[in-house]
């Protein structure tokens, strides 16, 4: 049975970029990424990889859904080429994903999904690398009225049901739900595959739908439940006593002695 899968994918500044590339503007309460490219949130990539594996196993049509402001087309194209069939872009200057709270984002995504037609499965990353909140997937499921399972390390679809291995602090559990359902995906799934150049070329012709603010008739300011009142750079730098020796073995020994001397041990 081929299923219709929507993968929610947020664009974020590359979270592996060095700390110096995240410029924290305390006055304007916003972080500006300098010199690092936007990427698909890594956990959303895990979600897309999961969708592609389902497609290979049992057949699926995958729609990549991305919401934001000034979405990079190159990033979308590369993700679609990895194995999606179409994309749905929800874009507006007001949809700055870094500034919307989780409830607003989930409202907008629910609005877009209801315009997109029927679906069987929605996959989201467990949390976004910028806001780090881990809420949108679950709230979206509540808004859409579908069951939700979080933290998947493996997802299979069979006979109208989704079967999920859900990560626990000390292992995993197996949870099933009837479709349509929403699943949030964890890093244990593994990395998104790279598309071939040929696939990237082909993906340029895949259907793309664009929605804007006017298509989603929502009173944005009224939706937000949280407000950011301050933004600061965390101070965690310490003064490091470097231990040296003629050989590294000696340095290792001296480190042990120093730790005892200073009563750290």
């Amino acid at each position: 049975m081929a299923v219709d899968i929507i993968v929610c994918a947020k664009q974020v500044p590359d979270p592996e970029g060095p700390p110096s590339s995240f410029e924290v503007n305390e006055a304007e309460r916003r972080v500006t990424a300098r010199g690092i490219p936007p990427v698909i949130n890594p956990f959303d990539e895990n979600a897309l990889e999961t969708a592609i594996r389902i497609k290979e196993a049992t057949g699926a049509a995958i729609t990549l859904l991305s919401l934001g402001k000034g979405l990079s087309r190159a990033v979308i194209l590369k993700a679609v080429a990895a194995g999606a069939d179409s994309s749905l872009l929800v874009e507006d200057d007001a949809f700055d994903a870094a500034l919307l709270d989780s409830f607003t984002t989930a409202h907008l995504l629910a609005g877009a999904i209801s315009k997109a037609g029927p679906y069987d499965l929605i996959l989201c990353g467990r949390q976004a690398a910028d806001t780090n909140a881990g809420m949108v997937g679950l709230i979206l499921a509540q808004f859409l009225g579908v069951p939700a399972i979080t933290l998947a390390q493996k997802v299979e679809v069979s006979e109208g049901r989704v079967v999920v291995e859900r990560v626990l602090p000390d292992g995993y559990e197996v949870v099933e739900a009837p479709l349509p359902a929403l699943v949030t995906v964890s890093g244990e799934v593994g990395d998104l595959r790279y598309p071939s150049l040929q696939a990237i070329k082909a993906a340029k012709g895949f259907p793309q739908t664009a929605l804007g603010r006017a298509d989603l008739d929502l009173n944005l300011p009224a939706l937000a439940r949280l407000e950011t009142v301050a933004l600061a750079i965390p101070s965690r730098e310490r003064r490091c006593a470097l231990v040296e020796g003629d050989t590294l073995q000696e340095a290792g020994r001296k480190l042990a002695l120093l730790l005892r001397q200073e009563k750290v041990l």
Binding site: D130, N132, I139, D170, G187, L231, L248, Q249, R253
Partner: protein, 329 residues
């Protein structure tokens, strides 16, 4: 709905029927916030056969403990928990509901926030009362910035990390324990088909006084065996950054960081890991941080108290031997 009042802590209990250490910290934190805001502190506890646990929570500075004790609550099913807890809290809307940023807290609170139309702040590392409002601090951008947020709704919920609050001193009087009958719940749409859990021989990472963590530069499982020897010597546990976990050199349960465990041992030994913000987010509050890395410019040295620049394969065996001698003395 009723006028919201009081601060409530969603209590979690461990295998020996006691509140978890994080629950105790939340009760301590809740007590402080309640006194700053001139309101009461309550706890809510869900489970099956939890009379003893409810009693011990009642002795932790709470004014009231609401107990939902029912066989259907014996294991966590988010749909059942959300419905039962949502039903209870709708009739006693809290100003603030605090939960640990635990497996259950992360899964349940977003659902509950929808049910109660409340705001939710996840992964809090700081909470304080100011001008009658609560301000929540949480890391964003992988820990590169700290955001302070407040709610626009009357009721706000939060999931809070370990070691943000301090466990309360033993209270002289116990709070009132109220057993609440769980309303009959609609059948859950989820079906639980079993679990696969690991049994730990070592002490749990979050409670270890010493954590020895390895990074990508450890290069394989054999390296982790050496770190385990060092950790064992110090009565500690082994942690890891993400790459060793992704490569299967260390179990997932070892991962420290924003998507792993949050630890704050007395001593954190960081071996062959660079100190990414995502990793620091999970161990930055440690007492003393010791780094071994062959790259003198590795960021980890900027956030450490002690360091050796060099190949860990040379440094760690000598360090371990010297420590063993010191301990034997």
């Amino acid at each position: 709905m009723t006028q919201p009042k009081g601060i409530y802590v969603l209590a979690e209990i461990n295998d020996s029927q006691n509140p978890t250490s994080l629950t105790l910290e939340l009760l301590g934190l809740g007590k402080k916030l309640a006194s700053d805001m001139g309101t009461t502190l309550g706890a809510v506890i869900l489970g099956s056969d939890i009379t003893a646990a409810a009693q011990s929570v009642s002795r932790c500075g709470t004014d009231e403990v609401l107990v939902l004790d029912d066989p259907v609550l014996g294991t966590y099913d988010p749909e059942v928990f959300c419905e039962v807890l949502g039903g209870l809290l709708k009739s006693r809307l809290p100003l603030i509901l605090l939960s640990g940023h635990t497996s259950m807290g992360q899964d349940l609170l977003p659902r509950l926030a929808c049910e109660l139309e409340a705001a939710l702040v996840t992964d809090c590392v700081g909470l304080r009362a100011e001008g009658g409002e609560i301000l929540f601090t949480r890391p964003v951008y992988g820990g590169n910035a700290l955001a302070t947020q407040k709610a626009r709704t009357e009721t706000v919920m939060a999931t809070v990390r370990a070691r943000v609050g301090d466990a309360p001193a033993a209270a002289e009087t116990a709070g009132v324990v109220t057993r609440v009958q769980a309303a009959p719940v609609a059948a859950s749409r989820l079906e639980f088909k079993g679990r696969e859990v690991m049994v730990f021989k070592e002490c749990p990472l979050e409670e270890a006084p010493v954590v020895v963590s390895g990074g990508r530069g450890i290069g394989g499982e054999e390296g982790f065996a050496q770190l385990r020897e060092l950790a064992g010597l110090l009565g500690g546990a082994v942690g890891a950054s993400r790459p060793p976990v992704d490569s299967g050199w260390a179990p997932t349960t070892c991962q420290v960081g924003i998507t792993g465990k949050v630890v704050a041992p007395d001593i954190y030994v960081a071996v062959a890991l660079s100190g990414s913000t995502q990793h620091l987010s999970g161990m930055g509050e440690s007492g003393k941080i010791v780094a071994v890395n062959k790259d003198p410019d590795a960021y980890i040295f900027k956030v450490s108290d002690y360091g050796v620049v060099g190949d860990w394969k040379q440094v760690i065996p000598a360090f371990t031997t010297a420590l063993r001698e010191i301990i034997q003395e």
